[in-house]
Structures are given as structure tokens and as C-alpha cells.
């Protein structure tokens, strides 16, 4: 077994400013050693530790999709010491990636099901990974209807805007893009908060429909009642949590919610599971 603390060396291949306020950037990394890319075989919903020697590590959801080859992508919000340093790095710089870590959305269980993806703000990274995965021609027929509700403060704060608008044009995915507000007269999508758009546009629950939610705590808090209203059971609501992490492999002890370790037993839990744990996230 390999050293789980050892990051794979990567080179920053591309940096893209992801939002109009420049607080998010999308980093594209390529592995220095080709064989590491194979070792870093992941599923949509997993995360990794971005590892900057001399600075530290930060757990970030993987935004690229298992069906995208040759690189991995992460969209990072500038907030602490490591993310601030990362935002100041440049194409060509060498750093490390450790992972993939954690569990993933339950893709086997989700086969032949309708999927409703609900995201808010910058918690759309592993959801992007999931959408790309499901839309891939090899996978699309494994899933029934796909609905996506995604909202941000303003049009410029939506992540992956070009892809969103591409998906919007497709007929095998129902996009419900929304912003809290905008003064753009050309804006042709929804205006309103995510919970309300969910209530108005998401499909009603049945045994074959599952919702995946990622977003800021406040959005999750208000979206839950909308889903309950639509008839979703707690085991049909799938969520991804964030907690402070260091090791990412279930050893350093800080990310637990009750007996579950968010980094290893999670980050993906059903609401039914979360109802059994202390709300320490």
C-alpha cells in the first residue's frame, strides 16, 4: 500500500477566472508522471487534497469528471492561507494532489433513476463532475430524467457558465438556471432563490427519483422543506458535506460528525444518515 500522505506531483496547466468577482479560479492540473493519472482514478463526488509544499493542503471537490482524460480540474474559492497562495500561483508551477479521497455519489444505486441536481453558489464543482459524467454518451442511457437547479447571486457568479448554456440547449437534461437578481435585460433564465425554483420546477418525488444537493448551509436548510413538499423521503436526498480536514484519510480526527468521518465515511451522506448524527458540520 502506498503512502497516503504523499501527493502526486502535478503542473498547473491552465488557470481560469471562474467568477466576476475573481474570488474563484478553476485550476487545470496535469500529472508529471503519466502513471499517477491512472492511480488517481476517481468517481464524481470525490475530493482531493491540493498540496502546496511549504504552504499546506486544502481539501477540494474534484470538478473535472472521470470521463475527462489527461487532466484534473478544481475550482477554488479564495478564503484561507492555502487557497490565497494558490490563487497567486501561475501556469507551469509545480505542486501536488493527494487523492482521490472520500466516497462519491451512489452511482450504482442511481442507475435507472431520475436525478435532480440542486446546487448553489460555488458548491457546484462535484455537481459539474457528475453532470459531465451522466451526459457522457457511454453513461447517459444509465439514467432517466436529469434535472438541474443551479443558482448564484448574479449571472457573473455562476460557475461554468458556457457549459451551463450548452446544457440548456440539449434535450436530454432539464436545466433550471437561476440568479438571486440581475439588472441584465437579456437574462433569459430564472430569477429567484434556489428553494423556490426547486419547488416550482423540480419533479415531484417518486420511488425512482433522487435529489443531490450541494450548497451553502443556508441554501440547504431552506431547500430541504421544498423537497419534503415535493414528497422526497430522507433517503432520497443525497448531500455532500464539508468540514475542516487535514489528513483526508480518516485518521487525524477533526472532521467527524458523531462516529462518521466526513473525509472517509463521507463527504456524501443521505439526509436519512445525517439525521442520525450530531449536526456538527
Amino acid at each position: 500500500m502506498e503512502n497516503p500522505y504523499m501527493p502526486y506531483p502535478v503542473r498547473i496547466d491552465d488557470i481560469e477566472i471562474a467568477t466576476e468577482d475573481r474570488s474563484l479560479k478553476t485550476f487545470k492540473f496535469v500529472f508529471l508522471n503519466k502513471e499517477d493519472e491512472e492511480k488517481f482514478s476517481y468517481q464524481a463526488g470525490q475530493f482531493a487534497e491540493l498540496s502546496i509544499p511549504g504552504v499546506g493542503e486544502i481539501p477540494i471537490g474534484i470538478a473535472s469528471s472521470p470521463v475527462e482524460k489527461g487532466f484534473v480540474k478544481f475550482t477554488v474559492f479564495r478564503t484561507g492561507v492555502v487557497t490565497t497562495h494558490l490563487h497567486n500561483m501561475k501556469v507551469g508551477d509545480i505542486m501536488g494532489i493527494r487523492g482521490p479521497l472520500g466516497n462519491w455519489y451512489p452511482w450504482e444505486k442511481l442507475e435507472n433513476k431520475n436525478i435532480v441536481i440542486i446546487g448553489g453558489g460555488f458548491a457546484f464543482t462535484t455537481l459539474r463532475s457528475s453532470i459531465i459524467y451522466m451526459l457522457d454518451s457511454a453513461n447517459r442511457n444509465k439514467f432517466k430524467n436529469i434535472d438541474v437547479v443551479y443558482g448564484a447571486r448574479s449571472p457573473g457568479m455562476l460557475l461554468y457558465r458556457e457549459e451551463l448554456f450548452e446544457w440548456e440547449k440539449r434535450d436530454d437534461i432539464n436545466m433550471h438556471i437561476t440568479v438571486d437578481g440581475t439588472d441584465d435585460p437579456e437574462w433569459k433564465y430564472h430569477t429567484g432563490f434556489v428553494p423556490q425554483i426547486v419547488e416550482q420546477n423540480a419533479p415531484k418525488a417518486d420511488d425512482d427519483t433522487y435529489a443531490i444537493i450541494c450548497g451553502p448551509p443556508i441554501m440547504i436548510k431552506f431547500t430541504q422543506p421544498s423537497l419534503v413538499q415535493l414528497g422526497y423521503r430522507d433517503d432520497q436526498i443525497i448531500m455532500s458535506l464539508e468540514n475542516r480536514m487535514k489528513c483526508g484519510i480518516g485518521m487525524c480526527g477533526r472532521c467527524n460528525i458523531g462516529k462518521e468521518l466526513v473525509c472517509k465515511d463521507g463527504p456524501v451522506f443521505t439526509l436519512e444518515e445525517l439525521n442520525q448524527t450530531p449536526k456538527e458540520y
Binding site: 499546506g56 509545480i94 480526527g253
Partner: protein, 361 residues
Amino acid sequence: MILSSKEKGHTMKFITIDKKDWAKGIENSRKAYQLFGPVKEKNGVLIKNLEKGVLPLMEYTDSVMSAKSVMFPQSEMILKTTLDESKEDHHIMKRVDTNYSPRAVVGMRPFDAKAIQLVKMNFDTKDFRDPYWCDAYEATTFVGLAVNKPGLYDFSTSAGSGPFGEDGLDVLLADMDDKYVAKILSDKGQDFIDIFAVGTSSDEKESQVLFDVLRKEAEKNIASAIETDKLKDKTILYLHEAPFWDDVAFSCINCGTCTYVCPTCWCFDIQDETKRKASTRFRNWDTCMSSLFTSHASGHNPRDAKTQRVRQRFMHKLKYFPDKYEEGIMCVGCGRCVKSCPVNIDIRKVAKTMNSYENKE
């Protein structure tokens, strides 16, 4: 490599070591082992690397710190690299070279050995193996010293260990006045005794009788217990939402003493440090008593309040761990936290409160 990893079959040999020959045996063992053991310093008894000529302290009641540091030092380098871009391998992390030649801890308490078995469940899992802890563990031979006269703080018999507990030990020594009788518990233990090379073989049955007499006498001295029998039947949320936590936590000053002296507390932090262009990644002991432990970069902190942190410590030891692993509580009854806590938060009292808690509604 002296240690053989393969099992040579179940050994149950006893060796009698005259105390006059003890120092000689220790010197012999230095040839093959890095020695660790109890040492009396101004701060109390600590478990340390035994420098040349230093014998392990064999008469002591309590050590302030446990033997966990032999596998899990308070601060340990794990990876290193150079930030000098003129070097070909700059920013590429490499494992730090650590000496994993055979180690032996001599004179440790049986409850500390049991604790290491509990810590092992965290560091050696089916999904991941912590190479630093595991390599050190594999390199180490655990030579315990039975506790003939347990101190006031010892409640190990109710915490899955005991003064003559054998769990996790390779050799168990019992002090019998002018001699030690060593019970060899594993191949690693046999190898250690072979290299120790003083002492004579003793009759197995007779020796076991002597051990049993001393053990019973020692166990009689243990006056307190940790009560946890009813915790299994209460759910995590039931205990978590119980009303007594504010009272339990009131006096806590959120120092990490209890966690640092605890032989089973394994939580750690990872930190990078750079001197000039040489960068090192460390891991340091961390403590759930610190609010920093769980504080998100955004400022949000799921265990922001003192009560939440105190609750985490006791729930982890007495409920989360037992529920997760089904191997009993994450406490071996060494009593160090009870003795060292500056405000007298006593795990026995907290366990009793949890154990007897019945929601009247």
C-alpha cells in the same frame, strides 16, 4: 533484521532475571534495539529514548506521558522537498528518512500497550495505512512491567486492561523482589529475551501461579471504575443532546492536557514549515479541545463552543469509538487525564453521568 515476522507458534515461556543482571541485559539489548522507557525528569516520569548508560526506571507509580510517543511523536517530520526551482525535483515531496531499526520500550505499563492496540485501529485500516505509525509499530517490541501496586488513579480493570494485562505486549515483566519474571508473549518477545541474554528459564505452571497471585493482589488495589455498561443501549443523538454537557464543561479551560497525556488520543495536525528553501511537512499532536481544530477557513466552526468540544472528547471515547469499532471504549483507565486535568474534570464522573442518564420525558 532480527525480528522475524512469521509466527513461531504460541509461546508461553517464563524467564527469571536476577535484578543483579538487569543492567547487563539492558546493555545487551542495546546492541539490537533503540531503547525507550520510563525516565524520571523534573517534569515527572516520561517515556523517552534511553540514552547510553540510562536504565529504564522500574519503580514508579505513574508516568505523566504515555508510551504512545514511541510510535507517534508529538512532532514528526513526514515529507520534505526543496522550493529551490533550480533543482530538478523542486516542489516534489519525498518521504523523510526515519530510523525504523528495531526499537524496544522497556518498562511500559500494560494499559499503555492496550492503548497502542486501540490507536492501531485508527492508523492501520483496511483502506489506508499510516506508514509512519505502522513502520514504527512494526519495529517496536513492547516489554511491559506489570503493576504490583496500582496507584490511586488506575481504573484499568474496568477499561479493558489491568495491572497484568497482556494485550499488545511482547513480554510482560513482573517484579518479584530480587528478580523479574518475564512472560514471553510473542515471537518478538522471544527475540528480545534471546538478545537480552540474561536469565534462566522458569517453570511455566509455577510462574503462572505466581503471576496470578500478584495479579489478584494488584487488582484488589484498584478502587475505582469507569461505568459504561449502559451506553451501548443509548443512541448517539440521545447522549449528544443530553442536558448535562454544559455542567460537565463549565470548568474546562480548553487546554489540551487531557488529550496529550492520553495514551489513546491520536488526533493530529499537519503543518508545513520552510527554512530557506528546504520545506518540511510535519504532523503534530492536535487536540479536540482547541477551537482551531474544527474551524473552517470561512470562519464557520461546527464545534465553536467549549461545551461542544468537551462533549466531543467524551463522546468519542465512550460512544463514537465503541459504536464504530465494537472493541470497547477508547480509554484504558490509566487515569492520567484525571490526575493532570487542572480543573478536575474526571472521566469516571462524566462516564457515570452519561451511563446513568435517563431522559425523564
